[in-house]
């Protein structure tokens, strides 16, 4: 692969990482949602309209788009957060489907089936890396915060979380708002890179592939979605030469294999800790025979 092609692919990997973080933001509160794709679509078309047609300054249009994403996240959460897991996932898929119909029919604002051109001012490495760093920083700070711990509890067992005075609905609401803001930002950067968006830019395919990236990377640490998105974007490009049109078959097979054999993904902090403690234990074993209490206190026994 040539260097330019690789760089372009890496840029898309960055955008996909933002989308993946958006899905991760709600997944870590125990909600499987494809809504970020819809939020991204609305923000991207709003960005195209405000920055392109109305003539708003680009950074201001970005702020408006991200704010709009967060607001839609909040509204969506109020409406659908009480649904059961399957139904909730379905509702968010339905949102993506409706989004496409809206885009096709609101010709005045979106260009309809032909799509619309978008200013490419944000399609630079500086903006992309800057936003990714900000997003990762926020997610990493959240992970150890009171919110992050509460989110982990809600994800593992909402009933138990409730007995600990955590409101699952409120945690999931916050997750949706973060997811909305990240999805909005991702949509805008996607639009700015492509400089053209149409009804199929933000559709189920994007949602499913991004979800796959989150699972591949690991949905238990903020670095997982980033690693997964980069791997999942690069892999088909690298496979295109040897595999031709079958490159995506490998992606699909890989997805099934990973969910069966590595359900916690590539970035699995628990496994890393486990390996480290095993190494430490082996060092101890050389000195003395292990006692049962040793084994009881290893993190291997801690199930999350």
């Amino acid at each position: 692969m040539s260097t330019t092609a690789l760089l372009t692919t890496l840029q898309f990997a960055g955008v996909n990482a933002l989308f993946a973080l958006a899905i991760y933001a709600s997944l870590r509160t125990g909600v499987l949602s494809l809504a970020p794709v819809f939020f991204g679509a609305v923000s991207a078309f709003t960005f195209g309209y405000t920055a392109g047609t109305v003539g708003l300054s680009v950074p201001l249009a970005l702020v408006v788009g991200v704010g709009l994403g967060a607001a839609m996240g909040a509204v969506t959460a109020v409406l659908i957060i009480r649904l059961d897991s399957h139904y909730l996932a379905m509702a968010t898929i339905a949102m993506v489907l409706i989004g496409r119909v809206l885009i096709i029919n609101l010709v005045e604002y979106t260009g309809g089936p032909t799509g619309t051109l978008v200013p490419g001012d944000l399609g630079t490495w500086a903006w992309l890396i800057g936003s990714l760093v900000v997003a990762c920083y926020v997610m990493s700070r959240l992970a150890g915060s009171r919110y992050g711990l509460a989110a982990d509890a809600v994800r593992e067992d909402p009933a138990v979380a409730q007995t600990l005075a955590i409101s699952p609905r409120r945690i999931q609401f916050v997750g949706f708002v973060i997811s909305g803001a990240l999805g909005g930002a991702a949509g805008i950067f996607q639009a700015s890179f492509l400089q053209y968006i149409g009804p199929d830019t933000f559709y189920t395919h994007l949602g499913f592939v991004t979800l796959a990236a989150v699972v591949l990377g690991g949905a238990f640490h903020w670095a997982g979605p980033v690693v997964g998105a980069i791997a999942f974007t690069l892999l088909p490009e690298l496979l295109r030469e040897p595999m031709g049109e079958y490159d995506r078959v490998v992606t699909g097979v890989l997805l099934v294999i990973i969910i069966i054999y590595m359900p916690r993904g590539l970035v699995d902090v628990r496994r890393l800790r486990l390996l480290r403690s095993r190494g430490r234990r082996r060092a101890v074993d050389d000195d003395a025979t292990p006692t049962p209490t040793d084994r009881d206190t290893t993190p291997a026994q801690v199930t999350t």
Partner: protein
């Protein structure tokens, strides 16, 4: 009036195909607890296989239909055994099967696109029944009549199977809890394989009839069916396949009527709008029963 009646006929025929697909989709969702995104590709492969058999092997359409349905069923069993069975054995949660089904969907769709190519084709005109029936001034194409008949037969058959036979009781027991079912002497794995086969075979039938009605065999037949079938299952509730089937027919009628009398552009918006409203207002579906489960 004549136009309205004719469009009603067209709507019911279109809706029958959605309903057929929805029945298979609901079976997997209700009895195996899997939201199977790959279900549409079973329909696609059924249609592609039957087209290949008719054009390349020179089989009659009816034989090709039967073989296409069998192939779709076999694909369903393969997907179930290769991807879902290991997850079941590990007791993975509700999300893992969805992810696995996305993987299967990517694989089968890519292979279908590679196999079918970009050009749109249809069954050779001389191989399929084409003489329209006339009844009270209404025109009914053979494909439409076959779709409606297939829906009635499948819904009746599956419903009787589930409610009136020992095997149906076994399926329902496994759906509640495979382990308890095993204790009372049900072979859970065999039962699930049978459900996977049945659901995917019905999807294959829907795909073939959809291709026949549209006069178009392509790699994306299943995608459209998946969206409509999915809407039918959510609105109808997946506890009872009759609800999903009825809503599937209603969606078909709504689509035809709204493109006739409102606007063809908003055809899908109406379907999915109804879907979203029902989800928010009545999440268990119009005909669904509320299930009591621990939070």
């Amino acid at each position: 009036m004549q136009l309205l009646a004719q469009q009603l006929v067209n709507g019911i025929a279109l809706g029958s195909i959605y309903a057929l697909f929805a029945v298979g989709f609901a079976l997997i969702l209700a009895k195996m607890g899997i939201l199977n995104v790959a279900h549409g590709t079973f329909a696609t492969w059924g249609a592609l296989a039957s087209y290949y058999l008719v054009t390349e092997r020179g089989l009659s359409f009816w034989v090709a239909l039967a073989l296409g349905v069998l192939l779709a069923g076999a694909l369903g069993v393969a997907a179930d055994q290769l991807a879902f069975e290991p997850l079941r054995r590990r007791g993975a949660g509700v999300f893992a099967p969805i992810i696995a089904s996305i993987g299967i969907w990517i694989v089968l769709l890519t292979l279908a696109e590679a196999h079918a190519g970009p050009t749109a084709v249809s069954y050779p005109a001389e191989s399929v029944p084409a003489e329209p029936f006339r009844f009270l001034g209404l025109i009914m194409l053979p494909a439409q009549v076959i779709s409606v008949l297939a829906l009635v037969v499948v819904v009746t058959g599956v419903h009787l199977l589930l409610t009136r036979t020992r095997f149906g009781s076994a399926i329902r027991a496994v759906a509640v809890d495979p382990r308890s079912a095993t204790i009372v002497g049900v072979n859970a794995r065999r039962t699930l394989i049978a459900v996977a086969f049945l659901a995917a075979a019905i999807a294959g039938l829907a795909g073939i009839l959809g291709a026949l009605s549209d006069n178009n065999v392509s790699a994306t037949i299943g995608e459209g069916l998946l969206l409509k079938g999915f809407a039918a299952v959510v609105v109808g509730g997946y506890g009872d396949i009759r609800g999903a089937a009825l809503v599937g027919v209603v969606i078909g009628v709504l689509e035809v009527m709204s493109s006739q009398y409102i606007s063809s552009g908003f055809r899908d918006a109406i379907t999915f709008g109804v879907l979203l409203v029902v989800l928010v207002a009545r999440p268990q579906g119009v005909f669904g029963e509320r299930q009591l489960v621990r939070a």
